[in-house]
């Protein structure tokens, strides 16, 4: 789960990391009164889960109430790479002596958390890695030993932070690691964190991704989910415990197993089609899950045809056929379906479908054939 900047900062603050004072606001009036309470200059920041919002006009500095009103008015409701801004974060502007970068990620190959520290803050880290790799210090932390004070010193000296803040930066990294572990994050990135003229460390941004699998241990964090900015189909799918990702095309896709669904999308694309979604009905999908999945797929008005690609393992093809028949009874879809059933109980499933003789439903023998057919149907 990706957090908004201000949620991430609240998480950091919980672990002792200094962040600027601020307030979140969903209306221009609230934004102005937040700015008045905080004082000027203050920053008005769009709260969207996407990088680069500054360049796109999503961050403005206000010197007075008038400017705060103007900026909040401009930013609230604006579209940033497809995401609508529903909230702004108003925070006291910080005086900056140095801008640094720090992050914690999972390194898959090393099977350990990786800490990155750079003295080139405020810039995309991939750009820094390409331009000045020597400006990035990194090390793996042993998950059993944890982040040690000497790790902090090593990173700080190797990255070349100002000598007088080595200890403070080390403590900041330790707190970042504590946040990462305690909150069970997959990513914690602070770009930039700054050294103020008073030589204090402060986090000016926060990009935090939490582990959905661990959310049961963090009920407080679960409530941070930003439902309002989620896509309506994705929200609907989540409520039905389906794994669904909305895409740009017009062919609805359902399959069982993440790999097979990804593969189906690829094969559809190879045949010139544009998938409208990724939907994994899961291992052992039952009829009611299939019915629910059809509802989700068809709630996207762009969908012109639907492809079912099932290779039954634990999933039984007759169950899938029953779910599809049920869905047709309930929804009476207006678009054509191509159905490929293979694997466990495939003959039974095919027989059921034939017997139901659903309108506009076509059987296909292979994945390739199914993809070809569904693409034709959208032409």
């Amino acid at each position: 789960m990706d957090l908004l900047e201000y949620q991430g900062k609240q998480l950091l603050a919980r672990h002792g990391i200094p962040v600027p004072e601020g307030k979140v606001a969903a209306s221009v009036e609230d934004a102005v009164s937040a700015a008045e309470a905080i004082g000027y200059p203050c920053a008005v920041k769009a709260q969207v889960q996407i990088g680069g919002r500054g360049k796109l006009g999503g961050i403005k500095i206000a010197a007075n109430a008038e400017e705060a009103r103007a900026h909040a008015g401009a930013i609230l409701g604006m579209d940033i790479r497809g995401l609508t801004v529903h909230e702004v974060w108003i925070e006291a502007a910080s005086a900056i002596a140095s801008e640094y970068y720090a992050s914690l990620v999972f390194d898959r190959a090393a099977k350990a958390p990786l800490v990155l520290l750079s003295t080139r803050g405020g810039i995309d880290i991939e750009q820094v890695a390409a331009e000045t790799p020597e400006a990035i210090a990194s090390l793996h932390v042993d998950p059993l030993l944890g982040f040690q004070p000497y790790h902090g010193r090593r990173l700080a000296y190797e990255a070349g932070v100002d000598a007088d803040v080595v200890r403070a930066v080390g403590e900041f990294l330790a707190a970042l690691y504590a946040t990462f572990v305690a909150e069970e994050a997959m990513l914690v990135e602070v770009n930039p964190f700054v050294i103020t003229p008073e030589r204090e460390v402060r986090a000016l941004d926060a990009k935090v991704t939490l582990d959905d699998n661990a959310m049961y241990r963090h009920p407080d964090n679960a409530s941070l989910r930003d439902l309002s900015s989620e896509d309506p189909q994705e929200r609907m799918a989540k409520e039905r415990h389906l794994t669904y990702v909305k895409l740009d095309g017009d062919i609805g896709v359902l399959g069982n197993g993440a790999g097979l669904v990804m593969s189906t999308l690829d094969v559809v694309a190879q045949h010139g089609g544009a998938p409208a979604n990724f939907l994994d009905a899961g291992g052992g999908a039952r009829a009611d899950a299939v019915t629910a999945a059809v509802e989700v797929i068809l709630s996207n008005p762009k969908v012109k045809a639907v492809l079912f690609n099932i290779f039954g393992g634990i999933t039984r093809c007759d169950e899938v056929a029953r779910g599809l028949i049920e869905a047709f009874e309930q929804i009476k879809p207006a678009v054509p379906f191509v159905v490929r059933l293979d694997g466990t109980n495939a003959p039974e499933g095919r027989t059921l479908l034939e017997a139901a003789s659903l309108p506009n439903v076509y059987a296909a023998a292979t994945m390739d054939e199914a993809a070809e057919r569904v693409v034709e149907l959208t032409r």
Partner: protein, 291 residues
């Protein structure tokens, strides 16, 4: 021969009395796997159709001489069960459970690495099938036959799809290894490639990868340096948009990292033939096997 599971496998199932656990345990036994015991705390002394159940792995190992564990318990208890199995001396642990918190996994890997010894397959994986010898997990064995193609995959159904197409072409498998779809799996492509390279029964290897991470790139480098057997690859997720998790927790393109195109390119650069569809993979394997 074959890899990871075979006739010598003596399986103990953690979570044997659960609905899924008992179903697949009996399935695996029906296939011919030696299922020697199970563990469910509080159910010690009972049995599942003759398979004795113990309260702890230590008791189970002492009584049944198990060398392999299959973990079927819910995610909140799975890390503990894996550690318990390793602590009891189990050599191979196959964790089927999906949804184990990532930080739990990290602690488990660090502990297994230092304790030295236990090999972990998964979590969030379909298990390992060595056709004609043993099946540990949820892979539907009916689609596979005995043969000389080793398959290692991050995805379950995709593997079945490939295995099925191979079987239709008359080709069988030495072993099918599902390493699982989590971002940081217990065993990587490289770990399994090493086993297949050393397995005399395996003559050809298929790896089925997907977006996210750089396990396929690492595999490509390893193949170039250490694998003399022919390798055919498949990568799923060419159409996946960046920043979206595609079903598997590990299947995500982050910025410019982990794209299917980059993975396919890396493999091809190291001489691995990459099929663009599962069918094409089966065709390539058939072509190579026929030589």
């Amino acid at each position: 021969m074959s890899v990871i599971v075979d006739k010598q496998t003596r399986l103990c199932v953690s979570g044997i009395t659960g609905r899924e656990g008992s179903f697949h345990t009996l399935n695996n036994r029906a296939y011919g796997t030696q299922v020697v015991s199970g563990v469910t705390p509080g159910k010690g002394g009972l049995d599942l159709e003759g398979i004795p159940v113990f309260n702890t792995f230590r008791e189970a190992v002492a009584a049944s001489d198990a060398n392999t564990a299959m973990v079927f318990v819910p995610p909140a208890f799975a890390a503990d069960s894996i550690l318990e199995a390793a602590d009891a001396g189990i050599e191979t642990i196959i964790a089927i459970t999906e949804g184990i918190p990532a930080h739990d996994e990290l602690r488990v890997y660090a502990q297994l690495r230092r304790a030295g010894g236990a090999r972990l397959i998964g979590p969030n994986c379909p298990g390992v099938l060595s056709p004609g010898k043993a099946n540990v997990g949820i892979i539907p064995a009916a689609f596979f036959r005995e043969g000389n193609v080793g398959v290692v995959s991050r995805s379950g159904t995709l593997t079945y799809q490939v295995g099925h197409e191979l079987a239709q072409r008359g080709l069988g498998n030495s072993s099918i290894v599902g390493i699982g779809g989590d971002p940081v799996p217990g065993s990587s492509f490289v770990d399994i490639l090493e086993l297949f390279q050393d397995d005399p029964e395996t003559e050809l290897i298929v790896i089925a990868g997907e977006i996210g991470g750089r396990a396929e790139e690492d595999a490509a480098e390893f193949i170039a340096g250490h694998v003399t057997k022919p390798v055919v690859a498949y990568i799923a997720g060419f159409t996946a948009p960046p920043g979206k998790t595609m079903g598997h927790a590990g299947a995500i393109v982050s910025g410019s990292q982990g794209t299917a195109a980059a993975k396919a390119a890396a493999l091809e650069a190291h001489g691995v033939r990459v099929g663009r569809t599962p069918t094409e993979v089966a065709d390539l394997v058939t072509e190579i096997a026929a030589k």
